[in-house]
Amino acid sequence: METRGLPAQMEKQAGAVSKPAKPHWNERMGAAANARHELPRLVKEYFAHVRLLLAADPPPPELHVIRLASKRLRYTLELFRDCYGPGFNTRLESLQQLQQLLGEVNDCAAAERLIGELIPKSAARQRYQEYLHRRAGAKAVAVRKEWHESFDAPGRERWWTAYLAKNARR
């Protein structure tokens, strides 16, 4: 689900915070040289953004901003898959794992909203929405755990940036 149905403030926040920095390509350099130069910077900024967002302890629906940032980073990195070796996929897999959890939070929030739109107010609707709300909360806890204990564990940012800065070939 995209940004439909998000409160205006969150949309604004999503726009302001989740957009990764624009890469600056050097036309005179090849793809690998550009990747070595730009991708570590994009990853570094991603880590900084997500740390900042999580430090505010956002409620589950606001993790959507992190989901967008993660998705944009992953698709940008994937454009350079041909430039890197197997270590690149290992790193993408760790990002995908985080994205999977973020997606599960978003699925619950979106289903809750959809049911609110489709189903007239009733005890059953409230029951479904409460279930989805609880589930989103549990998944959000899993996102934070994944971020702190795995994705952003000590040395992991360097694990990304050092690899991206040194291993591009093409």
Partner: protein
């Protein structure tokens, strides 16, 4: 770098065309997922490699992608909501499931019409030509 950007873009347009052809047969969950992924990848590629395209046409492509993405997203929303309720023990015969299934059918039909239109229009060749790939 320009050549690399062009190769990546051409490959992603091709992948999207394949996914659209598949989804035009039947808008099932898997083919919708493939179209969504192919659209997102291409959209990101256009944004990231924007300086390497001849003019602002890449923005028009992204705009078209976003409209199809919304149609595919509406179908997926219904699929996800039904799956989550099923996991919570809600019967397939419950009223909420019938309402979600009806919404899914409506959005699915709209999506199917849209992907068939994309397929007929042959967007692949036009986009490659306009982006000088």
């Amino acid at each position: 770098m320009r050549q690399f950007a062009r190769e990546q873009t051409a490959a992603l347009i091709h992948k999207l065309a394949e996914a659209v052809h598949q989804a035009a047969r039947e808008a099932d969950e898997e083919s919708i997922h493939d179209v969504r992924v192919a659209m997102r990848r291409l959209s990101r590629c256009l944004r990231v490699f924007a300086p390497f395209y001849p003019d602002g046409y890449w923005k028009k492509i992204r705009h078209r992608l976003s409209s199809l993405m919304a149609a595919a997203g509406a179908v997926r929303d219904c699929d996800i909501a039904m799956e989550l309720l099923r996991q919570n023990g809600v019967s397939r015969r419950a009223a909420v499931m019938a309402q979600l299934a009806a919404a899914r059918k409506k959005h699915g039909d709209e999506l199917l019409r849209e992907v068939r239109r994309w397929k007929r229009e042959g967007f692949q060749h036009k986009w490659k030509s306009r982006l000088e790939l």
